[in-house]
């Protein structure tokens, strides 16, 4: 397995009639090309093409990898990165009505997870999609931010080769058929969005985009824990 890359093989082989899934630069042809590959230089627009990131919204499929989704890019030192991310996290907390955040600018008990060194990446899997991705928790400052990144990552990935669903995922408002859940430090699966953002990023281990039908049981369990 290539460490540091964003994609991993899931257990299921979803494209029996495509080329065999392999750990190479391309995992098939056609519609998968845009989404299924390990990100390398070949993924990006070639010479002469006018395609830019701004055009990607008109494409079916996930947006081209953004600066914040590539491991170790942009090449900003982790010390500086942590400092920026901490500030953005604190700002988001203030935005969410946390008065404490304002007074405790110089927090004594900064949770270790916030000042992350080392990989802030967690794996994300969507039900029915074999290829997982990784998302950098440090590069996000709020649930909205994270949801947007994930929605773009998995846009149109239904896990089937039939009708492409172009509907946006809308992970947070409960209106779509998917919800965002996470596995916390204790191994429990919870609905994303219930705890303050900073607490969330210190306890999240993995993310999963789950079908709402499956998630309803989860919500109950979560409420019971409260």
């Amino acid at each position: 397995m290539r460490g540091g890359s964003e994609l991993e093989l899931g257990k299921s082989n979803l494209l029996p009639d495509e080329n065999e899934l392999e750990l190479g630069l391309s995992l098939g042809t056609g519609a998968w090309r845009e989404r299924g590959r390990i990100l390398t230089a070949k993924d990006f627009p070639s010479v002469g093409s006018k395609r830019t990131a701004a055009d990607s919204s008109s494409h079916q499929g996930a947006s081209p990898p953004r600066s914040s989704q590539v491991v170790g890019w942009p090449p900003v030192g982790s010390h500086r990165m942590n400092s920026l991310v901490n500030k953005q996290a604190m700002k988001a907390e203030q935005g969410e009505g946390d008065e404490e955040g304002k007074k405790k600018v110089i927090k004594e008990d900064e949770p270790k997870g916030v000042s992350v060194h080392g990989s802030g990446f967690v794996k994300v899997n969507k039900d029915g999609v074999g290829i997982g991705r990784k998302v950098d928790m440090r590069a996000h400052s709020s649930y909205e931010n994270l949801a947007r990144t994930l929605e773009e990552m998995f846009f149109g990935m239904t896990g089937t080769t039939s009708v492409e669903m172009v509907k946006p995922l809308r992970l947070l408002d409960g209106s779509s058929e998917f919800v965002l859940t996470y596995e916390d430090k204790e191994g429990d699966w919870m609905l994303v969005g219930d705890v303050p953002w900073r607490m969330f990023i210190t306890s999240v281990k993995r993310l999963r985009i789950m079908g709402t039908s499956e998630a309803s049981g989860l919500a109950t369990r979560h409420q019971e824990q409260k």
Partner: protein, 580 residues
């Protein structure tokens, strides 16, 4: 054959300070080699695994100052696992055992433990200076040992380290008799500071020239510190996001006015606009300004401040200054030599047009600042025309690092690659020693680099090139290449193996997410026993690796790091590192 007694030659050698020159001297003759090595006081080791401490001490018994570097550069961007290596402890143990009269230790990207610091503090009676840059593995307890035991400590400089802050009383550990401090930098500490201890320390250190505090030092404390240290030349302040009240502001400004020797200002992990204005009195003296951590302050306040800093030679800022702000810098800072513009928004909001710089700002700077020789520039877009203009305006670049945030982005006006732009840079800047390229680039840019970049020592490549030819142009052309680091580019075994002896002349090569395979790396290791060829795999995927045939020679190597060494494979490699 010497015409002078050894002592005279030694005395002459004393005037030769640069490592390169001293290394050259030692090659002249056996006798010169001996005189040189016995009198050598300062040694620089760019890769701690290229040699071991025992051999170092054997060759340089009079060693007083040692500089060591550990992890490869891309460790700064989390591309190297934490447990990779770069431990300073064996070095300190060996130096202590040999009773070397160590006075200065400078470490970069190394793993330092409290135990190491404790041993260091107890082993060298004359120890004067500790500089740690981007290190990790220690806590404030280690700092306490240094403070307590190094009686002659003059310099404690901690830059961008990961230090576990136990919020103990390490500042209290400086004995009352300690009055020799010239430089104290603890800006990277995250916790509360014992302000009383700090103020007492500063008050009894009349030679203190450089003081950089951490964000936890509030405005009133800063005011008091500056009042009792008006001799400061270099000041790093804390975090001041709230506007000061009238009284505090006046007191602060009065204290600042007295610091007539102040030349360098940094810190500001946050600063309210009014607070910044308190520093106006000393603006015209500043030669160095670092506002690159102040993410919240708006560009226009920063620009207004810089307008008074006519003597600036070094400026580090955020891209929130904008192109217009850079135009002001260009017209104000005629002495500018080094500029770094960092990104303020890492979320890649495509619709966020406010905080950004473009090719316009870069061209303005190149036109306005004739002495500019070093630049690090993060931007959202670039054009060939701009780079060609910059090259014409500034043929004196020594360091040119351009980072276009979106990988593979072409010239936004022509949609062409940026080969011609970078080509112009390397052709014009004959003294270029360090280069980082970005944006859409084909093999052609490397042809240019190989052809023209004769003095190039360090090259950073990301998401660039088409074929092995690209890397080959560089390896064949750049005779002075020392450090080559490549990521996410389609270079493979053919390029890696074409000229194995080339790596004798280089310090190291890094390749990640490229096309080199395990088989290729193994072949290289076989042909070059004087190289350590390291393959790095992320730990968490080891279980997946077990499922497949690990001996698959066609398996692409995720991260390759190779370096020349005279001491063979290191023994401290973690499980995720395989040395072939």
């Amino acid at each position: 054959m010497n015409y002078f007694p050894d002592e005279v030659i030694e005395h002459i050698f004393d005037f030769i300070a640069s490592h390169k020159d001293r290394n050259s001297i030692s090659l002249v003759s056996k006798s010169w080699h001996k005189i040189e090595r016995c009198s050598r006081k300062r040694v620089f080791i760019g890769n701690c695994y290229a040699i071991n401490p025992e051999r170092l001490i054997e060759r340089f018994p009079s060693l007083k100052s040692l500089t060591l570097k550990g992890k490869p550069h891309f460790a700064d961007f989390n591309l190297v696992p934490h447990e990779w290596g770069g431990f300073v402890h064996p070095w300190i143990v060996a130096l202590a055992k040999a009773r070397v009269g160590l006075e200065e230790l400078r470490l970069k990207r190394m793993v330092v433990s409290d135990e190491s610091l404790e041993l260091l503090s107890r082993s060298f009676a004359g120890f004067k200076s500790l500089v740690l840059v981007s290190c990790e593995g220690f806590t404030t307890d280690g700092l306490a040992s240094i403070a307590a035991n190094c009686r002659h400590l003059r310099e404690l400089d901690l830059q961008e380290n990961e230090i576990e802050d136990h919020r103990g009383q390490w500042l209290n550990c400086f004995p009352e008799s300690s009055t020799a401090l010239t430089s104290l930098n603890f800006s990277c500490l995250k916790g509360e500071t014992n302000l009383a201890a700090l103020e007492r320390l500063v008050a009894r250190s009349p030679n203190l020239e450089s003081l950089k505090v951490n964000r936890a030092v509030p405005l009133d404390a800063l005011t008091r510190l500056m009042s009792c240290a008006p001799q400061l030349v270099d000041l790093g302040v804390g975090s001041y996001e709230n506007e000061p009240d009238q009284e505090s502001f006046v007191k602060l400004m009065d204290a600042i006015k007295k610091c007539t020797s102040l030349r360098s200002l940094s810190g500001f992990s946050e600063v309210a606009p009014l607070c910044l204005t308190a520093f106006y009195p000393i603006c015209q003296n500043l030669t160095s300004l670092n506002l690159s951590y102040a993410a919240e302050i708006q560009g226009n306040h920063v620009v207004r401040f810089i307008q008074f800093c006519k003597r600036l030679q070094r400026l580090w800022i955020l891209d929130s200054i904008g192109d217009k702000g850079l135009e002001v810098v260009a017209s104000t800072c005629k002495e500018l030599q080094e500029l770094r513009v960092f990104p303020s928004d890492l979320h890649d909001e495509e619709d966020n047009n406010e905080a950004s710089v473009t090719e316009i700002g870069l061209v303005a700077i190149s036109a306005g600042c004739p002495k500019l020789h070093s630049i690090l520039y993060f931007c959202k877009q670039m054009t060939n025309a701009a780079l060609i203009t910059v090259a014409k305006n500034c043929p004196n670049f020594i360091r040119f690092r351009l980072c276009i945030l979106e990988p593979n982005k072409p010239d936004h006006t022509t949609s062409q690659s940026l080969d011609e732009g970078f080509g112009a840079i390397v052709q014009a800047c004959k003294g270029l020693r360090r280069l980082s390229v970005s944006g859409l680039l084909t093999d052609k840019v490397f042809l240019y680099i190989g052809m023209y970049a004769e003095q190039l020592e360090m090259l950073s490549i990301a998401f660039a090139g088409d074929t092995d030819k690209g890397m080959l142009y560089v390896l064949n052309g750049c005779k002075k290449m020392r450090k080559l680091e490549i990521r996410d580019s389609p270079f493979g075994n053919a390029a890696l193996l074409a000229d194995v002896d080339k790596y004798r002349t280089m310090r190291s090569l890094w390749m990640s997410s490229c096309e080199v395979t395990l088989g290729g790396c193994k072949r290289l290791a076989r042909n070059a026993p004087w190289l350590n060829v390291e393959i790095i795999n992320e730990n968490e995927n080891n279980d997946l690796m077990m499922e497949r045939n690990e001996e698959d020679e066609r398996e692409k190597v995720d991260r390759l790091y190779l370096y020349r060494t005279v001491v063979g494979a290191r023994k401290d490699a973690p499980p995720c590192v395989t040395i072939l």
